[in-house]
Symmetry: C2
Subunit: 300 residues, 2 copies
């Protein structure tokens, strides 16, 4: 039995709404229960509860379910990885980095508060993600493996940010290889980690973990190709952040290196790869297929 996009029965809206609400509620409770000065708490809440697609936690939860686990079992790592993602956005937006004024249609945290608070709140969000795993994840025997996944992926993401903004590529890499290395780290690492953490919490066996990992690697790269395409085809208003930013800054992008048409073919190829990876998981992975479809055609 093969699975195609048309067979995915779960609607994209339901796919997103329910896990996002669960994670936002979990995150709000965790941040509110933690002893923090009011100014820091407010800055953290602003950064982590200010909207966003919640793609990573949704992937964690759906991957957990795809291997037979419950959404509940993946909630702590799903929340932690969204916090790591939010921390990275706060620091990436800083004046010394991307110097962005707008994020998710609102002022960035350093514009809303100040630079010092944005640096410290970002640091705190990162460290709180690890505190959350260490103090909330059950069963406790998973704390080690999940912390390993999360810490490794966080560092890989930071490596991606360095490669993207400060260079440091392997000098023997071609431009396309450099671009792939950047994105495998910058976007791919957290997407892969989200899916793997979810599967581990769902008690995946080795074959299941391999399947979802291959799926994650394909959609992680696809996510970035689509992002690059959106940057050249969409407006700032639609994106909720500055458009044409990458091409304006002369950054390597897929459309820039391969052209728009070949980039779109790459999206189709990666989508196919993701589907193939999920084949052994049968209908249980339909939600992951729907997510893949959405990521291939998203408009923002």
């Amino acid at each position: 039995m093969t699975h195609t996009a048309t067979q995915a029965q779960v609607s994209t809206a339901a796919m997103f709404t329910q896990p996002a609400s669960l994670v936002e509620a979990y995150m709000a409770t965790f941040v509110d229960e933690r002893a923090l000065p009011t100014n820091l708490r407010e800055a953290i809440r602003y950064a982590v509860l200010g909207g966003g697609k919640r793609l990573r936690p949704i992937l964690a939860i759906r991957a957990c379910e795809a291997v037979g686990g419950s959404a509940q079992a993946a909630l702590a790592p799903a929340t932690a990885i969204e916090m790591v993602h939010c921390f990275s956005l706060v620091h990436d937006d800083l004046p010394a980095m991307d110097d962005d004024d707008l994020r998710r249609g609102r002022p960035t945290l350093h514009r809303h508060t100040n630079e010092a608070m944005a640096i410290l709140a970002g640091d705190a969000i990162l460290a709180l993600a690890f505190e959350l795993i260490a103090t909330r994840l059950e069963p406790a025997e998973l704390v080690g493996p999940i912390t390993t996944e999360l810490a490794t992926a966080t560092n890989d993401m930071i490596v991606g940010q360095v490669l993207d903004t400060l260079g440091g590529h392997d000098p023997t890499d071609s431009p396309v290889e450099s671009l792939r290395a950047t994105h495998r780290h910058k976007t791919g690492a957290l997407i892969r980690c989200a899916v793997r953490m979810g599967a581990v919490c769902g008690r995946a066996d080795r074959a299941q973990l391999d399947s979802v990992t291959r799926y994650a690697e394909a959609i992680g790269l696809m996510f970035q190709v689509v992002d690059d395409l959106l940057d050249v085809t969409q407006t700032t208003e639609t994106l909720g952040k500055a458009a044409n930013k990458d091409s304006d800054q002369g950054k390597l992008t897929y459309p820039g290196l391969l052209g728009i048409e070949q980039s779109q073919e790459e999206v189709a190829r990666l989508k196919n790869e993701a589907y193939e990876a999920l084949e052994p998981l049968g209908a249980g992975a339909d939600a992951l297929r729907t997510l893949c479809d959405y990521l291939a055609v998203r408009q923002k």
Copy 2:
């Protein structure tokens, strides 16, 4: 049998040199083995291998030994907490924070490289500390408890930095209470964590863990009172960082609130408290006593 300063047989030099070398070697190996772009690796090495007292790892190792463990058993958390300390220095020195040009007698990381690299290298050093615990600490059953200690203390330290530089104190606190809250978080949390992690890795029983925790809380506060005293009594050259900075910026300090003499009495009182806490551990804790003596009289 009581223990006084004169009974501490271990020389201060030996106390510091050997654990510091162990931790620096461990840290260098870990950073070199980790796949990283050269520019990021160099920035991380500059920040973590640029000298410093290595107080926190030394406390971790000596606390482990004080409860009957080996230095080796505490090496991973000793290294991780030094990395957390180094990360905090890199970010604290940033222009948007303390804006320091000098650290440990050398240019600060953002002066040596640039602000973006200092932000990202700081982030990486923090996340690498957790990666180190998750991937290197043995036995694996300690990963959860040690990550809990490290993550909680890191967040408490960040809270201290917020209280110190951005406010957010409980409005019902008196100035002295606010000052203590700042320092219990900013300096105290990591010192307490270092000692507790060491003791946990040395398989301390509850009573031993309580003893070293009380010791750590006393010397943590003492460390800060001494720091404030040094800020008003020492030169920039001796300190390797800007002197008179706190008083110039009108920050709350112990000498500022209590006067120099009463601050010195506070040091004596806390030293006594630390000695009392170690009483049940007997001669095994002599190294911790020597460290306490050193911290009470240090000149930089």
